[in-house]
Amino acid sequence: MPYRFSDRRRLFLFLMAAPAVIYVAAIGLWPLSQGIWYSFYRYNLLRPARTSFVGLQNYVDIFTDEATRTAILNTFQFTIFSVGLQLIFGFCLALLLWRDSRFNRAVLAFLLVPSTITPLVVGLIFKALLGADYGMIGYFLSEAGIGPRTGLLTDASTALWVLILIDCWEWTPLMTLILLAGLKALPADLLEAGTVDGATAWQRFRLLILPLMLPSIFLALTLRTMDAFRVFDSVFVTTGGGPNDATNTLMMLGVKEGLQFFNVGYASAVGNVTLLFIALIATVLLLVVRRADVRINGR
């Protein structure tokens, strides 16, 4: 009987999926719910006796404390500028590498080198290069009298921008790769038709390539934005959030509060706020791209 069959099938599917569901719940949902629970407490592992329920106080602190507000603004500045620049650089490079040739393939292979180095090591490399006393770049900059005397990473006005550029150095190639894959998948006949119809290069880019590339752009933007928003390793090793709080980010704050001071409650709240921001950004990106898609492609 079909009714019974569907019942058994459902049971079968459920049993097949159960291990994965249990696994995800154990390592994903459980810590997440714990994190939300802890965030309502003033709870420090070093002072467990003084634990108390504080409601939303941790969240209020995050948004009223000046240092934390700076960290939030820094995180946004870092994300917007590094992902924005990477999108522009990445698109330009992808267009240059679009045509399939041996030279382009070789360039692409080399281009990927920075992305293969862990951000921690990238940070250490740039810290060594930019140091005012021993760094190769830092030494010449200071000899030439360009930039602050104490080095670009130790000046409050330049440090964050240097970190943004370091991020671009490392991650533009990934952006290029995603966009290049998108370009290669474009329907060749459509572009050819555009050329035959006498469209200029700019018109072809604006009216054909860009609209067709929207899904790839969305993918690249989302991936990189979520990643950039969680920036930690490179900041940790280059500036430690300094000078002053000029390069402090949300993740730096969370790690410091959680793993250095063992302020589990406050660190959980910082983690939850970061998560909310990322979810919010992803949603906004999705809406923007969908609206652009509707406007350009009419669907």
Binding site: Y134, G135, G138, S142, T150, A156, G242, P243, N244, Q260
Partner: protein, 411 residues
């Protein structure tokens, strides 16, 4: 067969089959501990496993072990500033009764009181036993001072003036170097200077007094030294960078822990072999001398079984005994704390600066970094405040006012 049985019998030691695991800070002494392990095994039968970690990892892993009651480590090297947290949370075995019981064996009179108190005790209880004390000293360049016709500075005021005199950026020569890096590095170095200039982090009642007049004044001096006499990159130096700049010959004066002194005469890492001198750290003119003392105690994890605790105590007694502790320092651990070590001919032949360390311990102050449970957070607030002053983002008063406001919330 019978012979083997006899040998086995005669070799049976009190701690056969026991393994003691130490969570150790990666400092001069950590390598020495691993070198001493076979001798300990020989004498007692116990295996010694030394897990060496950097400061942050050590704090994180041992705290996780204490909080989770996981008994991962039997012994832990305890930084002097963690004593408050250890005491409040009862992380470690209270050694007070054992110390009393074994006082003669420990030869307590031979250990400097400042080491006994600040490296081991909190509220008159031993949360750890002193193991490697460090003296804060002034390292200076004999050749540069001589060329300028100067003597090692007798006061902080002289130090500041001499440091400025010895600075000549065109020759890449700077008078002074200290930690500038945001975080513990800059906080600890400044607290040291602050102490020598008569400032204090806590008031008489043990409440934070970060923005006291004396503290603001000393931070002003610190900033002045950084802008006028330190290498440009000093604002991002931590302990390693600071020592490197001195060993490379860039800086004339550096206040430092005595543990680094042996490296100045090592041609593999030093450009200034034979040119470095060690003196007691100067204090402000007219002030009673008091010098910074820091270092490490050995604490026993309170979660482990009683028999293990006693085995761990046996190790502590063994490694801090006169004979082994001398060996420990002969091997380069750099943590002197016994009076007898200061006049020991073998040690003196190797370390000619021991009299300076002795003088430092005699007038030692182990409390200039407050050893209270709230210390890590206070250190972080100061680390940000002092760094922001050095970076020119705030005046000493603004920065310390802000830190004080935040510190008050902790109490």
């Amino acid at each position: 067969m019978a012979l083997m049985a006899t040998t086995a019998y005669t070799q049976a030691k009190s701690l056969d089959g026991v393994t003691l695991t130490i969570a150790s800070m990666n400092d001069g002494f950590s390598k020495v501990l691993t070198e001493l392990a076979p001798a300990f095994k020989e004498e007692t039968g116990a295996d010694l496993k030394v897990e060496i970690m950097d400061y942050g990892t050590l704090l994180t892993k041992t705290t996780a072990d204490f909080v989770g009651d996981t008994k991962g480590y039997d012994l832990v090297t305890m930084d002097i500033v963690w004593a408050g947290a250890y005491a409040e949370n009862k992380y470690s075995v209270d050694l007070t009764d054992w110390v009393k019981r074994d006082a003669a064996e420990l030869d307590l009179d031979d250990i400097y009181p400042v080491a006994l108190k600040s490296l081991g005790q909190y509220d008159d209880h031993y949360v750890a036993f002193p193991f490697a004390a460090y003296a804060n000293v002034l390292a200076y360049r004999k050749d540069l001072l001589e060329a300028a016709g100067l003597k090692p500075p007798a006061s902080m005021e002289e130090l500041v003036a001499d440091a400025k005199k010895l600075t000549d950026p065109s020759k890449k020569q700077y008078g002074f170097v200290a930690n500038g890096q945001k975080g513990p590095a800059v906080a600890q170095d400044w607290m040291q200077y602050n102490n020598q200039l008569g400032g204090s982090i806590l008031d008489k009642d043990g409440k934070p007094a970060l923005n006291s007049e004396a503290n603001i004044k000393s931070l002003t001096v610190y900033k002045e030294l950084f802008t006028e006499a330190a290498p440009p990159g000093a604002i991002e130096y931590d302990w390693g960078g600071r020592e490197e700049s001195f060993r490379q010959g860039m800086s004339a004066f550096m206040q430092t822990w005595s543990v680094g002194a042996a490296a100045y005469s090592d041609p593999k890492v030093s450009n200034i072999v034979g040119k470095a001198g060690i003196a007691v750290a100067p204090v402000a003119a007219g002030m009673t001398p008091q010098y910074g003392v820091g270092g490490w105690g050995l604490a026993i994890n309170a979660d482990i079984d009683t028999s293990k605790q006693e085995a761990a105590w046996t190790f502590i007694k063994w490694v801090t005994s006169k004979k082994i502790h001398k060996e420990f320092n002969m091997l380069g651990a750099g943590g002197f704390m016994r009076k007898s070590q200061m006049t020991d001919p073998d040690l003196l032949a190797k370390y000619d600066f021991l009299p300076v360390i002795a003088q430092t311990y005699e007038h030692g102050n182990g409390e200039f970094r407050p050893r209270i449970p709230e210390y890590p957070e206070i250190q972080d607030m100061l680390g940000t405040a002092v760094n922001s002053v050095l970076a020119g983002a705030a005046t000493p008063k603004e920065a310390l006012d802000k830190a004080q406001e935040a510190a008050e919330k902790l109490f």
